[in-house]
């Protein structure tokens, strides 16, 4: 029998394609809930801006719910803000959101430059939080995960997503220049997070979903950029794209993602057939099951995910802040007992 691994060893082994003692229940996506905010004393929106609070709330995922990782940040706006987009800070149950794109006018691209992640916007806040988490995580054998917005989504945030999609017809060269730029931003920021303690990077590119752009545009525009980012990092990358990504699982695997995180809309068994060389992450329904279901339903679905081939048991999308702790614990304790 295999010796028991630490949570960190387990996650890294699984992402490396090595055998592990059991599936992991690390969570590569947003973990914070209202109950965790209450117990840690670190609430949204403050925890998006204050490194200590960010670290405390991330740590609560382990402390209150036995999630086998700690992960920051809790939003998808750090990069867009660093590029000059105005951000609405949200509330205790709603995430920050981009209010205004900075690249509505094409000429503005020339005045944008890759921000220095050590001193621009909230990039240093996230890096500092990672540092604080690393100290605690070392003692507990927990992996530290940094979340980064993917280049297609970031391009949509700074340009306006509908305008960006129209650019794909009107001015393909411009679109490629925007994507090359956002890719450089992602690389610089991801490396900074790794240098400050992130052992795994989750790349989240919701706007690259095939439901929006289709599989061909994913392969020609979004995939190569994600590939470049993954290649530039010396830590494993978990790639999450929302929606039904069944058609692009091959691509996601080919571009080097060590973990492929799937939405609950994807059938885990079908994904397992297609994905042989990467770990599968997912895919408990975050709303119908985790938010509104009961513990029994959560465990039933968790069991089904594992039986169909999940390597890392996690929600199919970020955890909704009103999700009951009991429901999260239901699936993590199931995973801990495997």
């Amino acid at each position: 029998m295999m010796p028991e691994l630490s949570s960190r060893e387990r996650l890294l082994a699984i992402l490396d394609g090595e055998p592990a003692d059991r599936p992991s229940c690390a969570c590569p996506l947003q973990t914070a809930t209202l109950e965790m905010m209450g117990r840690s004393g670190a609430h949204w929106p403050d925890a998006h801006y204050d490194a200590k609070k960010m670290a405390d709330l991330a740590y609560a995922a382990w402390k209150c719910a036995d999630i086998e990782s700690v992960r920051v940040p809790f939003c998808l706006t750090v990069e867009a803000e660093a590029l000059g987009c105005s951000i609405h800070s949200g509330a205790d149950t709603s995430q920050p959101s981009v209010e205004r794109p900075v690249l509505a006018d094409k000429d503005a691209l020339d005045s944008l430059s890759v921000p220095d992640p050590s001193k621009t916007g909230r990039m240093p806040v996230v890096a500092t939080a990672l540092g604080l988490l690393s100290e605690r995580a070392d003692r507990l054998g927990l992996p530290v995960i940094g979340g980064v917005v993917g280049p297609f989504t970031l391009a949509g945030q700074i340009r306006g997503i509908e305008t960006l999609l129209i650019d794909s017809f009107d001015d393909y060269d411009f679109l490629e220049r925007v994507l090359a730029f956002t890719t450089d931003v992602c690389i610089a920021y991801s490396r900074h997070l790794v240098a400050n303690g992130a052992e795994v990077i989750t790349l989240i590119d919701p706007s690259a979903t095939t439901e929006l752009i289709g599989p061909e545009m994913f392969a020609s525009l979004a995939g190569p950029q994600l590939h470049a980012i993954i290649d530039s990092l010396d830590v494993p990358v978990v790639l999450h794209i929302c929606g039904d990504t069944t058609e692009i699982l091959d691509d996601m695997q080919r571009i080097g993602a060590k973990g492929i995180s799937i939405d609950h809309l994807v059938d885990m068994a079908v994904a397992r057939e297609k994905v042989r060389s990467a770990a599968l992450v997912g895919n408990i329904n975050p709303i119908d099951t985790l938010l509104f279901g009961d513990a029994r339903r959560v465990v039933d679905e968790a069991r089904s995910c594992i039986e169909k081939g999940a390597d890392i048991l996690a929600p199919g999308c970020g955890i909704s802040p009103k999700t009951p702790l009991d429901n999260i614990r239901a699936y993590t304790s199931y995973a801990h007992g495997l």
């Binding site: 609405h88 949200g90 509330a91 149950t93 709603s94 995430q95 959101s97 981009v98 209010e99 997503i161 509908e162 999609l165 129209i166 794909s168 017809f169 095939t210 439901e211 929006l212 752009i213 289709g214 545009m217 929302c242 929606g243 975050p286 709303i287 119908d288 938010l291 509104f292 999308c317 970020g318 909704s320 802040p321 009103k322």
Partner: protein, 211 residues
């Protein structure tokens, strides 16, 4: 050129997303003194419905819809001043993204396809409060209210909007959509329907208003 050929050219221009062809053909239609309403209905809207079907079959995606919508809208602008009477509407639909959520691309697609199908659309935009929904339905007396939410954090406000709308007019049909919600959520909160993409949403509206 026969008028059927003009209609077909308008349809083709929308399907291929060619705004030069759609606007040039709209000008041709006017110089031929064709009926502007028929040009929109038989030509442009038919094109948008074809695009909508192709989208539902996953043969085209959102960029193509946006491009086709632009080709259509630019031609509509040219034809509009020549509309003789108010064209008859299939019904009125109020649309909005619920409070706290700013992701409106799905709602915008529903609007485009609703208009192509002949509905009058009142677009309340994004992060729409319950009070704004109520004020709007009092003013425009719609047959259908559609609300969407992409974020799991904002969807929880939907039941309040439904209750408030029903209080004003119990006959209004309420539909929901967006990445955060599902048919089972629609059932739970007592919405009249759910659709998982814009093309299906328009069909659902047609069913609910008995069109």
């Amino acid at each position: 050129m026969k008028k059927e050929d003009v209609y077909k050219k308008l349809t083709d221009a929308v399907v291929s997303g060619d705004e030069k062809l759609s606007t040039a053909t709209a000008h041709d239609a006017i110089s031929m003194e064709l009926d502007a309403y028929e040009c929109i209905q038989q030509g442009l809207n038919k094109g948008m419905q074809i695009v909508s079907d192709l989208y539902e079959q996953r043969k085209v995606f959102v960029p193509q819809i946006l491009r086709s919508a632009r080709a259509m809208n630019m031609a509509v602008e040219i034809l509009k001043p020549h509309l003789e009477v108010d064209s008859k509407s299939s019904g009125t639909v109020v649309l909005g993204v619920v409070e706290g959520d700013i992701h409106d691309i799905g709602k915008n697609l529903v609007k485009l396809l609703c208009e192509a199908a002949g509905y009058t659309v009142v677009d309340l935009g994004k992060s729409v409060t319950k009070d704004a929904f109520v004020a709007s339905i009092k003013e425009s007396s719609p047959q259908v209210v559609g609300m969407s939410s992409l974020m799991t954090t904002s969807m929880v406000g939907m039941p309040d909007v439904i209750a408030a709308v029903r209080e004003v007019d119990g006959n209004i049909k309420i539909i929901i959509g967006g990445g955060a919600v599902s048919q089972s959520y629609a059932d739970t909160i007592g919405a009249d329907g759910y659709a998982d993409d814009a093309a299906k949403a328009v069909k659902l509206i047609g069913k609910l208003v008995g069109a």
